[in-house]
């Protein structure tokens, strides 16, 4: 029996049961249908990304491979959704059906590219967020806890990074460093840590003079014990919230860079590049699905992580404002 059910039971018996903050948060999250729907979408997206090789063998269209059957012989446009599917969905090989059409004028399979693009987005979103959070925690906690000129230097650094034009600098840096997955991850992390960093700094600043910290210090706790045992647990709430928002930001940033044609090497599928593939020669005018499939998936993914982060914030801190 889960704690919440237990609680419901006790309530009917007219008893009051104390609940930990974590139980309260989960109970609130369970009632937040928008956040739950977002979570379901994200789980489905992960499954969709994992199914890439399945789609490859099912359609007979390997990732990043051009198919002559994917381009219309007369119009030279990528074929539309359900092309060649008259003989059933699973006809294999060159004649196989394009469930969602082809994704560019080389005849890549849209479904396969979308699935592998989802991998790219998720990997970049998660790894960049991990790095972002590590740096943000480290610098945010140091700035907030140590204070003094250390704080001043770190706070100024945050201001400088915040004022930097991300895309412009990322484009310039990608010329110098060359295209690679790690470059994209690092440049995104480099330009995203300041925001959660400011939040963590603010939290620590407001926590470090509270009674429980003074009490711990009075009992002889070392600085590292105070930071790790007393302060860090308080940061888990904001950490989860900003991690979710940061995944959304990182996915959007990668897509924007790829849309402009910088950052990722060509052999890594990306939704942003799929959208940009629809642009040359006004391809999207004649075949709007080329941009609509990757574009819609991108919007929903970013929206889902944003809404989840928002739901988490409401669940963890009901006093704080929602996204508005």
């Amino acid at each position: 029996m889960s704690t919440v059910e237990q609680f419901e039971d006790m309530k009917t018996e007219g008893m009051v049961l104390a609940r930990t903050p974590r139980q309260l948060a989960f109970a609130r999250l369970r009632r937040d249908y928008v956040a739950l729907a977002s979570l379901v979408f994200i789980i489905l997206l992960v499954l969709f990304a994992l199914a890439g090789p399945l789609f490859e063998s099912w359609t007979g269209h390997p990732v990043n491979k051009s198919n002559s059957t994917g381009v219309d012989d007369y119009t030279l446009l990528p074929v539309g959704p359900l092309h060649g599917c008259a003989n059933g969905l699973a006809s294999v090989g060159e004649r196989a059906c394009f469930v969602l059409g082809a994704s560019n004028n080389l005849g890549y399979d849209m479904l396969v590219q979308l699935s592998f693009g989802a991998r790219t987005s998720l990997i970049i979103g998660i790894v960049a967020t991990f790095l972002t959070m590590v740096v943000a925690l480290l610098l945010g906690v140091i700035a907030g806890y140590v204070g003094g000129w250390t704080d001043t230097v770190i706070a100024r650094l945050m201001d400088i990074v915040a004022a930097f034009p991300f895309l412009l600098f990322a484009i310039a840096a990608s010329v110098a460093f060359g295209a690679s997955l790690w470059f994209v991850i690092l440049i995104i992390a480099l330009f995203s840590w300041f925001y959660p960093g400011r939040i963590f700094r603010g939290e620590v600043l407001s926590l470090r003079n509270r009674e429980f910290v003074t009490a711990a210090r009075m009992l002889g706790a070392s600085n590292s014990r105070i930071v790790f045992r007393h302060l860090m647990p308080q940061l888990i709430g904001p950490l989860t919230v900003y991690a979710s928002l940061s995944v959304a930001g990182a996915i959007a940033a990668e897509a924007a860079l790829s849309y402009l044609g910088f950052g990722l090497p060509l052999e890594i599928p990306s939704w942003g590049r799929m959208i940009s593939d629809a642009v040359p020669g006004g391809l999207y005018i004649n075949a709007p699905f080329l941009m609509v499939f990757p574009g819609t998936l991108l919007v929903f993914t970013v929206l889902a992580f944003n809404l989840l982060g928002d739901g988490l914030r409401d669940a963890l801190d009901p006093r704080g404002g929602t996204i508005l």
């Binding site: 004022a163 034009p165 484009i171 110098a176 402009l260 044609g261 574009g295």
Partner: protein
């Protein structure tokens, strides 16, 4: 006030210095170490011989140690190109001719022009786009934000929340392509791309309206949010209650008492966003084929035109820093408490 100004100015200069250093390291040592591309090789044209590369290297002063090069780059940025460099790069031409070829930001690899003149040719496009978009987003977001705050949890407020969420998650280039497809291609209300100079105001606005609107809607999402939350905060302040108690009309309370005080963060954000956009609204410019600074930066980067890319990054950093300082001054004027910090 003077001390406050000097401090902010020095801070700004420091940031610009950091940016110049970052850009210099990126396009000097990093580029060379990473891809074995030297600027001299890029400048020398197609398939240059080693002697040609060496000659160009000497011509551009690239044979000197990095710290000498960096020092010179800084000096040129502040004072303009030296007489010695002018004679080296454009021998036998008048000062005016040489200015076309060599400026504070150097000389473009891809075109036989100074980066400065390239920037000034493309900047009006970005300026126009920013101007149109900024007016639109303020006109859209502030009334909506205020109405939402006056009637929280009403249907209007809830619909607004949904639009804000979508606006924040919709990539501006995808939104732009959708707008182009439906409004420009299917309905034919707007041109598909291009820019007309201000000398023809009607055409100028006609070409900027759609990109301006797309950009504005994205920013409007954020501004509605800020306006709403600021207004909610100020509407619950004591002085608003006092104003009501003294019998002030609701319009007067909202406009004179609440909104005036809610404005400060909006002014701050507006200034910073203007600075950011003036440095190049890259995604919108590329999507709508507007040949502004952002578009130029992408073109230059694709062609490995290092001085132009570096020049635009520097230029936009200077604009952003200037916007920051202006915002600080405006804030300090609006709210005297800030100077005491």
């Amino acid at each position: 006030m003077v001390r406050f100004l000097i401090r902010r100015l020095l801070g700004g200069i420091f940031v610009v210095l950091v940016v110049t250093l970052a850009v210099f390291v990126l396009f000097g040592p990093v580029l060379r170490w990473n891809s074995n591309i030297s600027p001299a090789r890029l400048y020398a044209g197609k398939n240059p011989s080693p002697e040609q590369i060496e000659r160009v290297s000497a011509l551009l002063g690239l044979d000197k140690p990095y710290y000498v090069q960096y020092g010179y780059t800084l000096k040129r940025l502040v004072l303009g190109p030296s007489q010695e460099e002018r004679e080296r790069v454009c021998p036998g031409s008048t000062a005016a001719e040489c200015d076309e070829l060599l400026g504070r930001f150097g000389s473009s690899f891809a075109k036989q022009r100074s980066v400065d003149s390239l920037i000034w040719t493309h900047f009006p496009v970005t300026l126009s786009l920013t101007f149109v978009a900024a007016i639109l987003w303020l006109l859209i977001s502030i009334p909506i934000g205020i109405i939402s705050a006056i009637r929280p949890r009403s249907i209007f407020d809830r619909v607004t929340i949904v639009f804000v969420l979508i606006g924040q998650s919709l990539p501006v280039y995808y939104f732009g392509l959708l707008a182009l497809y439906f409004l420009a291609y299917r309905l034919g209300w707007f041109p598909l791309s291009g820019y007309e100079p201000l000398s023809n105001p009607g055409q100028w606005l006609y070409h900027l309206l759609l990109p301006g609107l797309v950009l504005a809607l994205q920013f409007a999402a954020i501004y509605v949010r800020i306006t709403r939350s600021q207004m909610l905060d100020t509407l619950s302040e004591d002085y608003v209650r006092t104003a009501r108690a003294k019998g002030a009309g609701e319009t007067r309370v909202i406009v004179r008492h609440a909104f005036r005080n809610a404005m400060l963060p909006i002014v701050t954000m507006f200034g910073l966003d203007l600075g950011l956009l003036l440095g190049g609204a890259i995604l919108i410019e590329v999507t709508f084929g507007l040949q502004g600074l952002g578009w130029l930066a992408v073109q230059a980067a694709q062609r490995l035109d290092v001085p132009t890319t570096a020049g635009i990054v520097l230029f936009s950093a200077i604009i952003i820093v200037a916007a920051n300082i202006v915002v600080d001054i405006v804030n300090a004027t609006l709210d005297p408490r800030i100077r005491l910090e």
